[in-house]
């Protein structure tokens, strides 16, 4: 269609360009910023080992050498012992001290200055420096993100959790990947857990016994700790567990509230010192032959560090450096101790030499699995840590070789052989994971790096075969093997370590590092797109110019600056995490402000501001809705009931309330249908199409009502009706919606009648809105009709209050825009408010997962994902954007000017451009803010989800605008 400003393509082209530039920008930025990793649902099993190249040797070796101790050989225990590696310890005590900095544990002599919080955990230092000790302090390096949940996941799966672990969990934080706890339970180990309840979120039904305490209240320093203390010492005397996990939270909370350099922190550390003393005393007293803790291993560790302000989450040295203290209750043979790295040694406070090892937290899961003799978690990419493995080395001499006449040197050789075998299994398991991962994941790993690690692996493997053929064939004579550096086992260990290190490096580069260049390029693309937007708007102004009576370039500054200011304020508010949390209220504040500005303008023109006042009342309703939605987020969904109970004095079970909540939405649905009828009967053209539209919509509404009726338990309904209402009705609603959509698109392209553009646009937009609205309504649930009603009335008041100012604004208030931007901004803010009003918020648990299953019982990632997307963006993106033409059409229908009619498409284009510009501006600021805050404590909890929602929202907006422009022009 030829329009005043040229062909329709020249109007549509900018939308396409903007869509493409935005897609490119988001793609680049996302590749740099959001690290993704696919979760594999494979698990390791004891029997898998037969597939490994190490299996035959190790099992034959075990058959020949392994003699079970006579006093403890129940059958299942015997079975356990044959799994993967030889168990080195029987019981394990893991004490997690949340946010344990390295300098809390290591003696102050390791650091330049002595700080008040150092040397408080003296018991660990003394144990580590004691002569011939089997205890050791490690500097443990965590991988970012250093938040407790991600760290626990990393520690137990042996992987590198990223922000988006693509998996099938669909919202629940429970770990679906193979992990240490799962393996423990599968292999008959009884796990006892006490402390932080995050463990229970991650492992809902793994623990034999658990004593969880809420970790939510950061200000509470003692509840969790006291709970753990109450259970820890008594449990140490019990036999009903194999692995004990005690998670203390006090230090983390003290750091968050008071900082590291505070009296509370020192108090906490001193408290821990005395508890650890008691624990060690109990363990030692029971460590004699036949005692409860004869072969127990103690680990005291932090999950991550913290800065001196108590923050953590990022990747700075203070945050990733935590410590790990490991102690075996029996001393390893002196020769094996030489394996321990002694490069970091300083005298401790008593002048004794204390050495500190380096430990990667990545290695935790596999090392513990190797110690306990259970299969390594499938997705673990760590390496069995030689030093911790050496600490438990005593067990090999007695049981492993079964000979007592070994020379000291052969202790070391036997250990090396064992360790090499463990590494062989370890490497095979990691290789298996990497192969499967690169074959199945969404975003794989770089090919050249994969080739490199494969090469290293085959090298190590040939090495292993050589060793087996040359050095190992004379079975049962390990003491012949040299323990020099050139010994084949040492070579093997080195080769495997090489392989495992490069895998870890590859994984880290793929899963933990931001790509600054890509992020920068993405951000620049975004800025370029803003410039394109402004240019497009400017070009349109020039096109419109001849049709304007008088163009006052400067115009009224206030009316031009204030809307821009509102958008700028909203965009800038994303720089603060609190403002992102309160985004709904802030958007409503700005919406109300825009309303007040309009009110003021209307009063200034001495008109009775009824529409503006109604709009303000409406925004007050939205405001209360958002507040209720926010409190739902923090507390339970019963808020509405308590709210109504307080206000009206009605009880939760009150039949009146139930009737109201069930009936009210259905009544509103009828109101909507009547409104729709009013609208549609006012249309001048296309009578048949009109009837089809109306018939389809009414059918959908009836089906929605049936669906809700079938869900309520007001009246007894037959099972058949219940079934059709529950699943059949929604499916038909989706089908009708889709049918109407196809019909409207077809009729738009097949129709060649010449009607006035405004009338035509009204019909078309009505068709689109009516084909989408039933689906959106049913997905939103019972709040749907009210939300849609609010949107319609809000839109009505915006347009109506604008109408009066139209003629005037074309004359007086123009600056850079042909169209007064205030209504468009109000429209956009209204859409944002409705997003929050309908119970969404910008985190992944803010998605309304229930909506994905309206009409379907079974999960299908595409189908359910689509429904969830429609629910999330329905009332905040789809409906507002598709109904934008109403801004113009209602306006122009009443306009007396003929020139305005010819300009319809120019006006519409401009409105679309302004709307898109508002969304793009806020998203750009979100991107800038995420870039600035990428090391912030809340980056993964708050900023990144916000970015994802905004980025997807922007692309949805662009795509909708583009398609709408294709459809309408």
């Amino acid at each position: 269609m030829e329009t005043a400003g040229g062909s329709k393509w020249s109007l549509i082209r900018p939308f396409l360009v903007i869509l493409l530039v935005h897609s490119l920008a988001i793609y680049l930025f996302t590749r740099g910023f959001l690290l993704t990793r696919t979760e594999l649902a494979s698990f390791s099993h004891c029997s898998d080992l037969t597939h490994s190249p190490c299996s035959s040797i190790s099992s034959s070796h075990r058959r020949s050498n392994f003699t079970p101790p006579p006093d403890e050989s129940p059958d299942e225990l015997h079975q356990d012992r044959r799994c993967w590696t030889k168990p080195a310890v029987d019981r394990l005590v893991i004490i997690v001290l949340d946010a344990l900095r390295f300098d809390f544990v290591a003696p102050s002599t390791f650091f330049k200055d002595k700080k008040p919080w150092m040397d408080k955990l003296r018991v660990l230092q003394k144990l580590a420096s004691a002569e011939g000790s089997s205890a050791r302090i490690f500097k443990a390096i965590a991988d970012p993100p250093t938040t407790s949940l991600q760290r626990l996941k990393g520690l137990t799966t042996g992987g590198l959790p990223t922000f988006i672990d693509v998996g099938n969990s669909f919202g629940a934080p429970a770990i679906v990947e193979d992990n240490l706890i799962h393996q423990l339970v599968r292999n008959g180990k009884r796990v006892l857990m006490m402390g932080d309840d995050t463990w229970l979120q991650l492992f809902p039904d793994h623990f034999n016994t658990s004593y969880p305490y809420p970790s939510f209240n950061v200000k509470d320093l003692d509840t969790v700790d006291n709970g753990v203390i109450e259970h820890l010492l008594p449990s140490l005397y019990k036999e009903d567990w194999d692995v004990l996990i005690a998670h203390f939270l006090g230090v983390d909370h003290a750091g968050h509230i008071f900082g590291v350099d505070s009296a509370q922190m020192i108090q906490k550390l001193e408290q821990y010192n005395s508890i650890l003393e008691e624990v060690v005393d109990v363990l030692k007293s029971e460590s004699g032959a036949g005692g409860l803790h004869e072969n127990t291993f103690l680990i005291v560790m932090g999950d991550h560090g913290q800065t001196t302000n108590g923050d953590h989450g990022g990747g700075t040295a203070e945050e990733v450096e935590t410590s790990l203290f490991a102690m075996s209750l029996q001393s390893p043979p002196a020769s094996v101790s030489s394996v321990l790295d002694s490069s970091f040694c300083h005298p401790d406070l008593d002048g004794r030499k204390l050495c500190v090892g380096i430990f990667e937290q990545l290695d935790f899961a596999v090392t513990i699995s190797a110690l306990l003799g259970i299969p390594f978690p499938f997705g673990s990419i760590g390496r069995v840590d030689p030093e911790i493995y050496a600490l438990s080395a005593h067990t090999w001499e007695g049981r492993g070789t079964g000979t007592n006449d070994c020379q000291p040197s052969s202790d070391l050789a036997a250990w090396k052989q064992n360790y090499a075998n463990a590494l062989c299994i370890n490497s095979w398991q990691v290789k298996r994971y990497i192969d499967l991962y690169s074959a199945t994941s969404v975003i794989g790993l770089p090919t050249e790096d994969l080739n490199h690690v494969s090469e290293l692996y085959s090298q190590a493997q040939t090495n292993w075969s050589d060793t087996v053929s040359s050095g190992y064939l004379p079975m049962g004579t390990p003491h012949r093997i040299q323990d020099s550096e050139e010994s084949p086992f040492q070579q093997k260990i080195d080769a495997y370590s090489d392989f495992l290190e490069s895998v870890a490096k590859l994984a880290r580069s793929a899963w933990t590092e931001f790509d600054g260049t890509l992020m920068g390029v993405g951000l620049s693309c975004m800025l370029v797109s803003l410039a394109i937007h402004l240019l497009a708007i400017r070009r349109l102004n020039i096109l419109c110019k001849p049709y304007q009576n008088a163009l006052n370039i400067l115009g009224n500054y206030f009316s031009l600056v204030s809307p821009l200011l509102l958008v700028a304020i909203r965009a800038a508010s994303f720089l603060s995490n609190s403002y992102i949390l309160a985004e709904g209220s802030v958007a409503n504040f700005l919406l109300a402000t825009a309303g007040i500005i309009r009110l003021q303008r209307s009063i200034r023109e001495w008109k009775l501001p009824t529409d503006e006042l109604f709009f303000l009342i409406l925004s007050t309703i939205i405001r209360f809705g958002i507040e209720i939605g926010m409190s739902k987020e923090s507390s339970a969904s019963t808020f509405l009931f308590t709210f109504s109970k307080n206000i009206f004095g009605i009880n939760e079970g009150d039949p009146l309330l139930t009737v109201l909540t069930d009936i009210f939405p259905i009544i509103l649905l009828f109101v909507l249908a009547i409104m729709f009828y009013k609208f549609i009967s006012g249309i001048c053209c296309w009578p048949h199409f009109r009837y089809i539209l109306y018939f389809g919509t009414v059918c959908s509404y009836l089906l929605i009502a049936l669906h809700w009726a079938s869900e309520s338990n007001l009246m007894p309904i037959s099972l058949f009706v219940q079934y059709t209402g529950r699943n059949f009705a929604p499916q038909v609603v989706y089908a009708i919606g889709f049918g109407l959509l196809v019909l409207s698109v077809l009729s738009r392209f097949l129709d060649s009648s010449r009607v006035k553009p405004t009338a035509r646009m009204t019909v078309l937009s009505l068709a689109l809105v009516s084909s989408w609205s039933p689906t959106i309504l049913i997905l939103l649930g019972r709040q749907g009709p009210f939300a849609v009603l609010i949107f319609i009335s809000g839109a009505w008041f915006i347009v109506k209050s604008w109408r009066e100012g139209w003629i005037e604004s074309t004359r007086r208030d123009l600056g850079a825009f042909v169209i007064d931007p205030i209504p468009v901004i109000q429209w956009s803010f209204l859409a944002v408010c409705l997003f929050f009003y309908t119970g969404h918020w910008c985190t992944f648990d803010g998605l309304r997962y229930g909506a994905a299953f309206v009409g379907f019982d079974h999960f299908n990632i595409i189908r359910q994902g689509l429904l969830l997307a429609i629910d999330t963006f329905g009332v905040s993106h789809i409906l507002p954007i598709l109904s934008i033409p109403f801004i113009i059409t209602i306006q122009l229908q009443n306009s007396k000017e003929n020139s305005a009619e010819g300009n319809t498409f120019l006006y519409l284009t401009q409105v679309f451009l302004i709307y898109g510009l508002i969304t793009a501006t806020t998203t750009t600021l979100t991107i800038i803010c995420v870039t600035i805050q990428r090391r912030h404590l809340m980056v993964w909890g708050l900023f990144a989800p916000k970015y994802v929602f905004d980025a997807i929202g922007l692309l949805v907006t662009d795509a909708l605008i583009f398609m709408a422009s294709l459809y309408y022009y």
Binding site: F589, W606, L616
Partner: protein, 216 residues
């Protein structure tokens, strides 16, 4: 000098007295009754209201329009009547913008909106009464050309914009007591009001000079 005009010194004195009233109210609250806005916003706001109310009504009644038909006492009565109406308008605005409602807050909201009414609505009612032309002029106000308009509308606009800006720390997670409604909004309003008074005094001074130049 035209009808209803106001001399610079008079405007200055007027604003000075208003400012002194505000300071005195705060001083009495702080020293006399030992309450502060942060500790007990409702009581402090009430004290401010009690002290500042008479000052503003009294002073603006004194510069009332239409002196022939309107006695001083009538202007004062108008001001007293305008106080609750303005409070209602301000409370409506605040609630639309997101002021919390609830038993805990309603007292402070009432006192706060009355104080805002004193800053915005009461002076205009005292001076203009129900004169339609005057109201229309002050609402459609774009350029200050009369001293009284300045004296009324600049501090009012300052107070409203200050209160609006004063809301910005409220969502922040600093957990300071003054982030509560209506403490920081009150601070913002008072600050904005003071700026408005200052600029109004300056404006009236400049206006007076312009008139002088014209007269010469």
């Amino acid at each position: 000098m035209g009808y209803g005009e106001i001399t610079a010194s008079k405007a200055l004195a007027l604003h000075f007295l208003c400012g002194v009233g505000l300071a005195a109210g705060y001083g009495i609250a702080r020293l006399g009754c030992d309450v502060s806005l942060v500790a007990d916003p409702a009581r402090t706001l009430r004290l401010l209201l009690v002290v500042e109310g008479p000052v503003i009504i009294g002073i603006y009644g004194w510069v009332r329009r239409d002196r022939e038909h309107c006695s001083y006492s009538k202007a004062v009565a108008r001001g007293l009547l305008g106080l609750p109406i303005g409070a209602l308008l301000n409370a409506f605005g605040a609630i639309v913008l997101g002021a919390p409602v609830g038993l805990k807050y309603w007292l402070s909201t009432i006192y706060w909106s009355s104080l805002m009414s004193l800053f915005t609505f009461v002076p205009a009612v005292c001076v203009f009464g129900t004169s339609r032309t005057d109201w229309q002029r002050i609402l459609a106000y774009s350029k200050p050309n009369e001293g009284v308009d300045c004296v009324i509308s600049l501090p009012a606009q300052g107070a409203v914009i200050g209160a609006w800006l004063g809301a910005w720390p409220m969502p922040l997670d600093w957990e300071r007591p003054w982030q509560e409604w209506p403490i920081c909004v009150t601070y913002g309003a008072i600050a904005g009001y003071s700026v408005g008074m200052f600029s109004s005094a300056v404006f009236v001074h400049l206006l007076g000079r312009k008139v002088h130049v014209k007269d010469d």
